[in-house]
Symmetry: C2
Subunit: 516 residues, 2 copies
């Protein structure tokens, strides 16, 4: 899931509650029973998740890890019996980047190895560097200017909030019945201040860019920064741009807040602090393109097989862990769903196409590129012939929890259909349809050009704040029963959409984002 999720959810307006069912869905109970049996009793979802995470490793946009995962998923989907597996370029992304060494420690007043990892797309240090640190506290460019002349050959420690809030809640959370009831109801308008928060982010980004330029021009040796986390879990993201022509940045390590706070407290108490760091990072500039992996189960109905039901999730991740909950889990479930459909021998009328997206974390680039190449450019809303052929797109990218329902994304005619499709899964905990939108992941690319794109509601488990974009998003976080359940629900939805006489109903086409 892309990092904008919380703001987007807060800024979303839900429509009215789903109207009563308009049509009666013809469900194939025997087929659904086969899907459930295969998915619950002969699941391969944990094996798939293991290969996606442990074996392929971190999957940062255009990294070696993502390339490995692209190759592996293409081969594995073919092994599952899918046709037309392909690693398809969606357009230009930017530089690849991988870590070859990551080491940081405090060496004075005593030795302490810090927990940390280079921020993405930051350059290497010139070998092992050992320097005094300077703590920089700056909320404005004027604050920043005060440090001029003090940073040469120093390791800059960016200040953070003064203390950590003790963890009073368990990491694992599930939706209660009450939570789901609230989720199914329309949301109130966003509270005043949401727009301000967005402005705050822009100001911060501008400050951050100014800071990088200044640190480089002042000749600082490196940067240590921290954003969030507790007890050795910490957030991570990029510390420099990935564009081929990006301005130079400094070697930078994101640390666990406990370590960062210790450095800051020592400096504030007047204790001289020295840090050594060694990062070796490798940029790849031969291929700046980004890719998605696609594969198909061809439809069997002469009239309908030119129509497509898509399912997918993003395969890329951040780099400090193996992106297990964000979003190997979603990909493993989607791969398992198509494996189930092949293993059961069911014959879908429409073509089913799985897509594992690249470069989602930087802005849904993989899915947006694919949608633009195949369906429509949201800027112009010029529709390509494939646009009318898409029956539905289903996405999974809200962690590793089981499915509790689906976001109907304001589509009032689809909602009662989903309600009926979910009915067989009430015993597995999936029964909620909300008209609310959810954002920050790849179904948005489809929704943006008026196609029926949806994301499922999932139990959060430890997604926020523990695993999402942290160094602890690993295979150990996955719970087999949750992923099996999700695979069965997704496979059934995809099958229902592939068998239905009509494609899923659509919302009215949006206006072009940039009218000509």
């Amino acid at each position: 899931m892309n990092k904008l999720v919380l703001l987007t959810l807060a800024g979303t307006l839900a429509g009215a509650a789903p109207a009563a069912a308009q049509t009666t869905e013809k469900l194939d109970a025997a087929a659904l029973a086969k899907i459930r049996d295969e998915g619950l009793n002969r699941s391969k979802v944990m094996e798939t998740a293991f290969y996606l995470t442990d074996v392929n490793g971190p999957r940062l946009a255009n990294s070696d890890g993502l390339k490995r995962a692209n190759e592996w998923t293409k081969a594995q989907l073919t092994k599952f019996g899918l046709a037309n597996a392909n690693i398809e370029a969606w357009g230009d992304f930017g530089r690849g980047w991988d870590i070859e060494k990551s080491y940081v420690a405090m060496t004075a007043p005593y030795y302490h190895a810090l927990v940390g990892i280079p921020k993405a797309w930051t350059p290497s240090t010139p070998g092992l560097v050992r320097k005094q640190i300077v703590v920089v506290k700056a909320n404005t460019e004027a604050d920043l200017a005060k440090y001029k002349g003090q940073l040469r050959d120093k390791i800059v420690v960016m200040s953070v909030a003064a203390s950590l809030k003790p963890a009073t809640e368990g990491a694992i959370r599930r939706y209660s019945d009450e939570d789901l009831k609230k989720l199914a109801a329309p949301v109130p308008p966003p509270p005043p201040g949401t727009a301000v928060a967005q402005d705050g982010r822009k100001i911060l980004a501008a400050l951050r860019a100014a800071m990088t330029d200044m640190l480089v021009s002042e000749g600082a040796a490196g940067v240590l920064s921290a954003r969030g986390g507790i007890y050795g879990t910490f957030n991570t993201s990029n510390g420099a741009p990935y564009a081929a022509d990006a301005k130079p940045a400094l070697p930078e390590i994101e640390t666990a807040p406990e370590d960062q706070l210790r450095l800051i407290r020592l400096v504030e108490a007047g204790v001289p602090v020295e840090v050594e760091m060694e990062t070796k990072t490798r940029f790849q500039t031969q291929d700046l393109k980004g890719y998605n992996v696609v594969a198909e189960i061809p439809g069997t109905d002469k009239k309908l097989k030119s129509e497509v039901v898509m399912l997918g999730g993003h395969l890329d991740s951040w780099h400090a862990a193996t992106g297990a909950t964000d979003n190997a889990a979603g990909c493993a479930v989607m791969m398992e769903a198509v494996r189930i459909l092949k293993a059961t021998g069911l014959k879908p009328r429409r073509t089913i196409r799985i897509a594992l997206w690249g470069e989602e974390e930087e802005g849904l680039y993989g899915s947006r590129g694919y949608v633009k190449n195949h369906f429509a450019d949201p800027a112009t809303m010029q529709l390509k012939p494939e646009h009318e052929k898409l029956a539905a797109y289903f996405n999974l990218d809200n962690g590793a929890g089981k499915i509790r329902g689906i976001y109907a994304q304001g589509n009032e005619t689809a909602a009662p259909i989903f309600q009926q499709w979910l009915a067989p899964f009430a015993d597995l905990g999936a029964s909620t349809v909300t008209l609310r939108n959810t954002g920050s992941t790849d179904h948005i690319a489809f929704d943006a050009v008026g196609m029926p794109g949806f994301q499922f509601i999932q139990d959060g488990l430890d997604y926020f704040p523990t695993t999402h974009h942290t160094n602890q998003d690993t295979y150990d976080r996955l719970i087999a029963d949750d992923l099996k359940q999700a695979s069965v629900v997704v496979a059934s939805f995809v099958y229902d959409a592939a068998m239905r006489d009509q494609k899923l109903p659509r919302k009215p086409l949006p206006a072009p984002a940039k009218p000509q």
Copy 2:
């Protein structure tokens, strides 16, 4: 707190519930008000804790960090106005050991920096070594023998439990009223199987020793092991003996379970895994003695000033963090208690002596040595003259939570006195007296020779399983309000004991542990 705590608690028999008060205690309300005012409104406890943790660093037995802390606490107690501050040898301990470099990463099938730290008293690697790994699963020496011939020049990864239990509870816990009621009641006898668990530990220790010998003789390059923890928190302890004449061991790093499990899963799936590690550790063999820090507030009553009220806690810690909750918190509270007593200008009748113990984690060595040197040898129960002069010893070492009461350690005549001493602190949450014993820390050294030694009941906060002996036992875990409260309660207890007409009543003298 020493690592045996859980077994000891489980194996403890409580006596009957405290009888009704036998005597009426004369409490000096004005003095207690002064103590409370100083301790709650002009506290220095967090400043003291900061110096103990962040500034002095990890304080492993006989390490540089512990030496720094000994010097600092001696100086600081003198600054607080205490007399006779002294760093007093308690006897022979073994080698000092400090870390100068700690680095470990997986380098194949892809690069991943592991979270880990050398186990205490393990030797250095010969620079950076990069080796293939072998996973060793052995529950018996016969299991172990199967690996002969496979370990030369390999990094050995010790197997661990197959998966991590998701964290469903928050890290921070406090005693509820119900919990305290249960704690005040006698405990049932230990469940069958407790003795077996003790046997299991011995078997494991013997296996571990055999394993070390074999790994050394087989020529393994190093060891990675993991015991417990989740989300980047991990346990740590020693991996080799500290005795001056200890047999050689291998360089060994204790890792976060997530990292260890990833290595194991990859090997089990047939993926070749390579790890690089570099540890630089420094042994100190010039001074093999262990030390305690002591200082006094001399008594003012001619008749009683030769009698002593002691308070203390262990200053040493494990090495992966700064031992904030185990036990800088206890030491900071004890130091704050004597600071408060000096700052208020109160004139205790008896002498008050603070002791900050060394080498507790390896077996309560500092306090046991002190007791043997000053009071009595539990082996013979030959009493020294100081034995009868000790009015009481109060210990703090159950984390960083506020005080909720006191363990009367089976002393039925002391219990009603404590009940009255606690009465003024009901509003601060401290009101429970239990006759139960608690073990695994330094009051046991006093109790073992028939002197009145007690430990307070504290809220657990995140002590188990998050901070106790982990890499996350840092200053960030301390909550100022808890430590202020504890300081006030301790200062008051010490003052009450110093002013009371009689010393605290004692239990009957125990028999010699080794009768002559």
